[in-house]
Structure formats: C-alpha cells, structure tokens
Symmetry: C2
C-alpha cells in the first residue's frame, strides 16, 4: 500500500497520459546528461507513473534512469514495473544492486517477480537473500498460484493481549516503516495463533492504559493460505475491509492481504470473464496488447477450431436436409436470421447467468428458479420478435409457408437458446468447472445445430402435410 | 468504511451462505418471540450479513428484526440493505425512527437512498433533516449521477498547517466517531482550499511538536466533483490510495471518495462491459436477478430487434443471390459455418479492444497499431482454419467448387471481421460514444451481411468463370 497519498500531477491529466509526458521529458534530459534535472522532474511524480515512464524509455536508458532514483523510491518504482522491464533491469544492474533491490521488495511483489524469472536465476537470488526473507519467500512460492498464500504479505503488526494501548502505539510507531499497513492490527498468542484484531482507529481512540485484549474484536473473518484469490477479494469487498488476515491449518497468523491487491484481482477476474465471453483465452497476465502476434493467435485459435468443428455439425444437418432446400431455395435465406437470433438470445442468458455467478447474486435467487426464469424470458422474447419477423418472411417468401416455418422455429429456438444459455453454465458450475467455458460463443454455436434442424424439419413437415 | 474489521463468522462459510443460515435462525427466533436470542445471534455477525439476512425475511418480520438492533448497528445495517428493503422499512417504521435513521446515515448512502425514493418522500425527509445534513444532501443530489460528487462523503478530517502533530492527533481522536476514515487526513487553508494531505501513518510517526505544514505532501492527486466515477476508480486503483480528495471549481475541498466505494464502481463497470458484450442493457443497479420478467425482457428486446433487423439484410443478400444456390444447393450448408466463424473472430477482436480501452492498456500501444495488429491476426487465424475447413468442404461438396468458394471467403471474412471488430469500437471511442455499443453481437451481425455477400459472389464467379 502506498503510504504517501500525494505528489504532484496536473489534475487534468490521467495516469497513462502523465507517464507519456514524463517519459518524453525524461528521455530528453537523460540524452543531454542533465541528471539533476531528472531528479527535480521525478521528485513530485507518483511511483506508478515513474515506473510507466521508465517502461516507455529506450532499453539503454532504463537502467540509467532507474539509478537516479533514491533508494526508497527505487524499490517502490521497481515493484510497479512490468515483468519484462523488471527482468531487463536485473540484467543491467550490478549484482550488489540487484541483491539489495530484491532483498528490500515486499514479499508478495518479490514472489510475483520470481514467478517470471528463469528457475536458475531464482535459485541464485534465493540463496543470496537474508535467512528471514529467504524463508518467507520460499514458503510463499510453495503456495499454489492465485491463492491467499501468494497474495499476502508477512509485513504486518502483531500485538499481544497484555499490551496497553500506549505500549501498542509505541510498537506501531516503531514498526510503521517496515509494514505494509498500520491500519489493521493483529493480536496473537504465544503460539502465534490469531486471537483478535483491532484497527488503528480503535487504538487511537482507546484510553492509554486499556489492555489490547479489552478493545480487540475476538471473532475474526479470516482466510486460509489455500483460499482462492477470488474468494479473498469477495470477502474484502463484501465487508469493506482494508485487509484480511491469512492463517495456516493450525490457525497461526502467517500474513495479511490488503485491499489494493484485491482491486487488481477483481479487475483480473472481470477481464477473464469478459475474455471468456469473447472466446479469447486469458493469459497468465492480462497484457494482451504487449504479447506478440503468434501468442495472440495461439490464445484464440483453439477456441476457433472448436467452434469450427461444432459448426461442421450445422453444415451436416443442412446437407442432409437439402431436399427441402432444393424445393424452396428461399428457406436458406432465413437460416442466418434464425440461428443469429438463437445465438443472441442464448448469449444474453449465458451472460447474465455467468456474471450472476461471479458476483454471487444468482445464488440468492436459487439456480433452478434462474433457469426457469430465463426459459420464460426466452419464450417471451421469441413472441415479441415474431411480430417483426413473420410478416417479413411471409412477404419475402411470397406465401405462408416460409413465414410459418420461420415463425414456429423462431419461438422454439428462442426458448431453447435461453434455456441452454442459462442451464449449461450452471451445470458446469455445479460440476466444479469454470462456468465461463459455457459462454456466448459456445452457446451460440451449439444452438445453431439445434436451430437449423428444427427449422428444416418444420419446413419439411409443412411442405408435405400442409401445402401438399 | 467499516471501522471494526472483525466479528464472528464460521470461517468456512462464504458471505451469502452465512446470510442464509442466519436468516433461517432469525425467522425461527422471531416467530417464537425469543428477542434476547435474536440479539445474541446477531451480536457477532457482520453488518452486511445482517442486512442480507433481514432482506431474506418475510416482509412482516423485517421491521421487527430491524428494531432489535442497537442504534449504531441499525444505521450500518440499513446502509447495506437493498433499495427495495430500505423503502419498505421506511413505510413500516414510525416517522421519528425514520428521521433519526436518515439523519444518521452517511451522506453518500443517504443520497443513494433518496435516488430510489419517490420525489414527494424525498422532499419531506429533506425538510425534516438538520440544516447541516440538509445542505450537504441537497448539494450532493445536485451533482450528476456517476460522478465523484455523488460518490463522495463530506465526513473527513481536515487539519490546518499550523497544527502540531500532537494537536492534530487530538483532533483525529475527537472526530474519529464521526468520519468515514481517519487514515487519510486533509489540510486546508482559511478559504477551505486543499493545500496538502497526510496519512495517519505520517502523523503517528512524526515527532509531537512537528508542524503539519512540514510533514504533509503539498502536491495532491485530486478529482473534481464532476469527474466521472470510472476515472475516480482508475485513479485510486492506479495509485493504491485509500481515499481521494474531491474539490470544487475553486479548488475548495468538499469531500473524499474511499476505496470501498471504488471497488463497487469497478465491479459495476465490469458488469456493464460484460452485459454489453452479451447484448444485455445494463440497469440502473445491477440486480438483474431481482427485477421482474417484463423488466428483463425490456432490457433485452431492444437489442434483439436491432439485431433481427440487421439480420434481415443478410436474408435479402441471400434471397437476391438465390440463382447460385439454385444451381448448387449445398453451398447453403456452409453459410452458418462461414458467418459463425466471422462472428467469432470479430467477437474476439472487439472483446480485447473494448476491454483494453476500459483498463487503459490499449492506449499504451496506440489505436492505429492495435487495429493493424488485429487485422493481421485475423488473416493468420483465417489461414489456420483453412487447414480444417477446406478439405471438409471439398469432401462434402464432392468437388473443388464448394471447397474453393468456402476457402476464399473464409480468409476474406476472417480478416474483415477482425478489422471491423477492432476498428468499430475504437471509432466509437474516438467519437465520444461508448465503445461497448460496438460489442460482439453487433459485430457478428454486421459481418454476417458482408460474409454472405462475399461467399455467394465468389461462388457465382467461380461457377461462371472456372467450371463453365
């Protein structure tokens, strides 16, 4: 968490824009050898903006600019750099500088960096860390990705129940420079079991001689090291917390997760849902626009091939019903409209259901009720669209046959698509799979097959039973 | 913001589940008249969970349960209740109780409530508020929806530069019960202009006699009352702040926005993007699953009708090219595959571009470059799919004609769809419109028309120039 909530930016510029402007000035000053100018320029700029400016510099200037930062700032800036810039800096700094940097990083940021580095480099750096930092880092690297254990930091303040408020304040003052937050304080017993929690607000408003045990809250919302990061984020969001304690299996306090990390998790999970809705595979990190074209193609082609194969079934259905089309070729003209509509209705249902599962709003309604609701909505929407589509089809088809076939199948397809769109993600959710796999493109393609079959069979039946 | 970060929940239960369990026990106890039991039951439960439990109760028990809460807790719980439950409670409580409740709410929560109430009720409540609260509330109601002015609270601590650290700490202690956060502190001059900012961390670590003017940060990231809520959220997220000051046109400090409100904004904006991607109109609030079926149909039918009309053009294109289909009816069998693939490629491109705009990652690359990248990716993906599709079409078509027509148009459609998918949202963005309006369903339907036209014209050309 950022301790100073200030620093100069022209208030009309947004973040990325500031970084761009600063990068330009920075490049000019570094080129001219005006190093004092650089210091004056960067002094009032926020660390995250400095990081982005340095990332925008030509490779050879990055290490130079970085070296001009003072030590404390350098660490904060480094933590905000993109993984690729972090790596290239490591190659360019002297090994003493590297070690000092890595040693001073927050454990959670250090673990994030180590995730990106080659195993050989990680082993060497780990061996050179101080014993304390090495132990913490190795432990965190042992937790699975995207769990509370990976997200947490071990830099928190823990107090004892027998401390008085005034003693506790002294501890807080002393430890403030080394902790991620001083606003959430934790109370542990001799075995480091978490026994309570209090906020700095509670502490500063307590009278000086009160015992911590008397002002703390004993029953604490906490998560375990193996709790999924999304669940951690939901808890902090739900309860409006600034931080959440993380305990191990023996309920010993091992770390805390802070709200700033959680915002990034919520955004990452939303990106994942949105990408799934667009049939794009989410990458490890979400800088789609940083990755090269072949990585981009790889993240998209798998889904496309799956969908092409699924579409092959639609082709087969049409090919094996070509006798109807042979008789009334105009029927073909309505195939895109019917399957398109089915796809859109299905996409709507799967979208609201998948989002409802993510935001936990659908659970309040009940899963079965949600499916029934969507089915009825699908039928209702089909009915509303009939008003537009059937007259058009009748007119275009110069007679009732095409109109009737289109109308009947539109109702059927719309109801079916809504039901499938709602139930398939829920089914996947129940089976413990990611419901987003059953997102719009898949539902669309799946309803295509059924839609075309219903349409052509209906037309065929009408042709042989009504017109003849 | 929640000041006590604790309270009992069994740590293995997630929030919505806890609320359900509590609601069941609550209903049983209220039914049995065991009011002391209710108090014991609710004592360790988090306010947000109590709110959800009360929301789950039958209407007649809601007011009863609410009255059993102690006064401070009642206000916090009330702020977390759904708008509909808030309203029905207002009807059931005595007018004295209502007034006390509304008077004690945070201004931002009060304004959110007033947004939902009938104008007549709002006027009456406003008139009965204390002059201070009335002024603040009327002022906030005057700001446009979804701006910083609506999101902020005026309950912050402001200090003067001439205060010493020890004096400031005394002020913080005294004002703590009445403010949303005590962790971000603001410094203003006599005209209430914002001159600096400091954190409680800075304050507790400063030596007692230091002047605030010497420890504060003078250059402050701030927003104006009319700044869009999404921009406010991005700033807090980017800089890892706990709160952000809001100033008026004259740079006078009028309020602060806290990180907990920002998390909800980020989620709300993500829901909006996801709904747009699924052609669902976002509602004022996002409880899709709370609204009735007709509201649901209304939020979806407009998009569907637009898409049906767009699909009508595809129908026209096919109908006016039916001579080709008449000759080789099997060509119709590949229409769904071709337009489906075009739709999927286009959806992928529009998805990554729209998300990239939201998370401000695309700006770093440059808009024009992003479109070129997507076009090349589209061509590349088309090429990869050819490997699967052409042999299938050749075999199914019992000859090269269908295979060639499908192959050529697949390449063209895939490139075109990716280009359109990337450029249309960017165009909308440039024109100051919401890029999400150019999302997957629209791109899909638009590429259908072009795709079918390319396909049938290609087949027709091949038929007359190659086979004959």
């Amino acid at each position: 968490m950022n301790s100073v909530e200030g620093a100069s930016i022209e208030s009309d510029l947004d973040g990325p824009h500031i970084a761009e402007v600063v990068a330009q000035q920075l490049e000019a000053m570094l080129g001219a050898g005006n190093y004092d100018g650089v210091k004056t320029l960067l002094e009032p700029v926020q660390p995250v903006d400095i990081a982005e400016s340095i990332g925008n510099l030509p490779l050879i200037l990055q290490a130079l600019a970085f070296r001009l930062l003072n030590k404390n700032e350098a660490i904060e800036v480094y933590e905000y750099l993109d993984a690729s810039v972090q790596q290239s800096l490591l190659d360019r700094l002297r090994s003493g500088e590297v070690l000092e940097l890595v040693e001073s990083m927050s454990p959670d940021d250090r673990v994030r960096l180590f995730d990106e580095l080659p195993a050989k480099v990680v082993r060497r750096l780990l061996a050179e860390l101080s014993p304390d930092e090495r132990r913490v880092t190795a432990q965190m690297l042992g937790y699975e990705a995207e769990t509370a254990g990976r997200l947490m930091t071990n830099e928190f303040i823990d107090l004892k129940e027998f401390h008085t408020a005034i003693e506790a304040l002294t501890i807080v003052r002393r430890q403030a420079p080394y902790t991620e937050t001083i606003y959430s304080l934790y109370v542990t017993d001799r075995e480091r079991h978490l026994t309570g929690i209090l906020s700095l607000r509670d502490l500063v408003t307590a009278s000086p001689e009160t015992k911590i045990g008397d002002v703390m809250t004993r029953e604490v919302v906490n998560v375990r090291t193996d709790t999924d990061q999304e669940e951690v984020a939901r808890a902090i969001q739900r309860y409006d917390f600034l931080a959440l304690p993380v305990v191990d299996r023996e309920r010993r306090l091992v770390g805390i997760v802070t709200v700033d990390d959680v915002i990034d998790v919520i955004e990452q999970e939303a990106t994942r849902d949105i990408y799934a809705a667009g049939a794009v595979q989410a990458g490890d990190e979400d800088d789609y626009f940083q990755s090269n074209l072949f990585a981009v193609a790889r993240r998209r082609v798998v889904w496309l091939i799956v969908l092409v194969i699924a579409n092959g079934f639609t082709t087969k259905v049409i090919a094996s019903n070509d006798d109807v089309l042979q008789k009334v070729v105009l029927l073909a003209a309505f195939i895109p409209l019917l399957i398109g509509t089915g796809g859109n209705v299905g996409a709507q249902s799967s979208t609201v259901v998948i989002r409802g599962l993510s935001t936990q709003r659908i659970q309040a309604l009940g899963l079965f009720k949600a499916v029934v609701r969507e089915s009825i909505a699908g039928a209702l929407l089909g009915l509303l669209m009939l008003v537009f589509v059937v007259p058009f089809a009748w007119w275009q088809g110069e007679g009732p046959l095409v109109g009737a076939a289109v109308g009947i199948s539109l109702m059927a397809i719309s109801t079916l698509a809504a039901t499938a769109g709602a139930s398939l993600p829920l089914l996947f959710h129940r089976m413990g799979l990611d419901p987003a796999l059953m997102s719009a493109p898949f539902i669309t393609t799946a309803t295509d097959v059924a839609g075309v079959w219903i349409y052509l069979r209906t037309a065929s039946w009408l042709l042989s039973n009504v017109t003849n």
